[in-house]
Symmetry: C2
Subunit: 216 residues, 2 copies
DNA sequence: GAGGTGGTGAGTCGCTCGGCTCACCACTGG
DNA sequence: CCAGTGGTGAGCCGAGCGACTCACCACCTC
């Protein structure tokens, strides 16, 4: 991105910063905000406490940097299908399910929910990087299909929420509540498929279209 | 229930216990587990710290009692529609929406999610008093209608989850994330109605039944 | 009115926390 | 070779925490 001056001891400083963030991420996600002490972060990252305080002015700043960094790497790993609306609901739903299924993603959600009263600005990040891209994608798809006459959707916002809700309510909540919960890949695909079918049945343009039965 | 012996100073003790629980509930829900100190609970409840320690052996025990008590009063206020499955999806959905809409209910959800790693047994309570009764109710209704031939539902569990997910994803998540979020009663009813219609369209017995269009 | 139950308030203990300071060292770039 | 940047380790501080103790008191019941 920007031209990096690098090459002084600055490089070492950035390495230390990365080490701190890695350790902080692991500890915050595992223990929560209060039970994670800066001393343990320093110990785990192999960095002195003085360095930690020079890099991050306060515990809150470190926590904020950790969340921001986690979201950015999450975006890198699986970019949201922003503009591509022609692939239909299936691909969007599958990517959404994939996002919800990542283990450290649920941990991140958990701590964000827990610390929201203390860090209200995290709610924005949660929406911006989490649900919103997928919601917009579904919304755009439905809107385009509606205008094309393929489907008939009066309340697009509600319909999009319905679709994502059918997926997340099955895949996400148990993961958030039950520690070691896992859903097989087949079941994930099935859940998404069924959600797509339900949407097709509900919002068919006129009569029952191609989405009717489905023996499988 | 059980015959209460009462009438010694035991009654006073129970009053004190209730005062403690009330204060503890307010503080835990507002500040979270770690940031709530027993000293502040004692101060707020107007009870000495010694009394607090005699009533509850530890902070964890007090927290557990608080959650249990909150769930039981929640059940009293709106008993889950356990056996009554003839009223259909609408009444179940509306009661579910009413549960999710209560302000202190979201606070309770938040702290339970936050402290789950430390109190794993809370997950059971969350399921037992929260989602499960409504899930079972929807499930039972769909099963009965399926056997009656009114609808055709192959995967009852998935269908029930879809229904509740369409509701909770619209009403619950924003409430959990955005501090002062509110949804009007009309919109709540609309969301539930649309979820019912979607279910009817998807799981119609053969052709499109009575649930076809719906201009509104 | 005497006995006993239960509440009270103050105090103590050991511990951990976030935050901060400072003298000292390692290493790089000129 | 030497100046300077950045990391290090140890230590200190004030505060708050959960947990516990004990002498004292208020009140009801017999």
């Amino acid at each position: 991105m920007s031209r990096v001056v690098t090459t002084y001891h600055q490089r070492i400083a950035q390495e230390k910063r990365a080490l701190i963030l890695t350790a902080a991420t692991a500890l915050f996600l595992e223990l929560g905000y209060d039970r994670t002490s800066l001393a343990r972060i320093a110990e785990r990252s192999g960095v002195s406490r003085a360095t930690l305080f020079k890099q991050f002015p306060s515990k809150a700043a470190l926590f904020d940097a950790m969340v921001t960094e986690s979201w950015s790497t999450a975006d890198d790993e699986a970019p949201p299908p922003a503009g591509n609306i022609v692939d239909g609901l299936g691909i969007i739903g599958r990517r959404y399910a994939e996002l919800l299924g990542r283990a450290q993603m649920t941990d991140l959600f958990r701590i964000v929910i827990a610390e929201l009263p203390r860090f209200p600005e995290l709610a924005n990040a949660q929406f911006t990087h989490g649900k919103m891209p997928y919601f917009e994608s579904v919304r755009g798809y439905l809107l385009a299909e509606h205008e094309a006459g393929t489907v008939r959707v009066d309340d697009v916002d509600l319909a999009a929420t319905q679709f994502l809700g059918m997926i997340s309510n099955y895949l996400f909540w148990p993961t958030l509540l039950v520690p070691g919960w896992e859903v097989s890949a087949e079941r994930v695909a099935q859940v998404v498929d069924e959600a797509v079918r339900t949407m097709a049945a509900r919002y068919a343009a006129t009569g029952p279209g191609s989405s009717q039965a489905g023996s499988r």
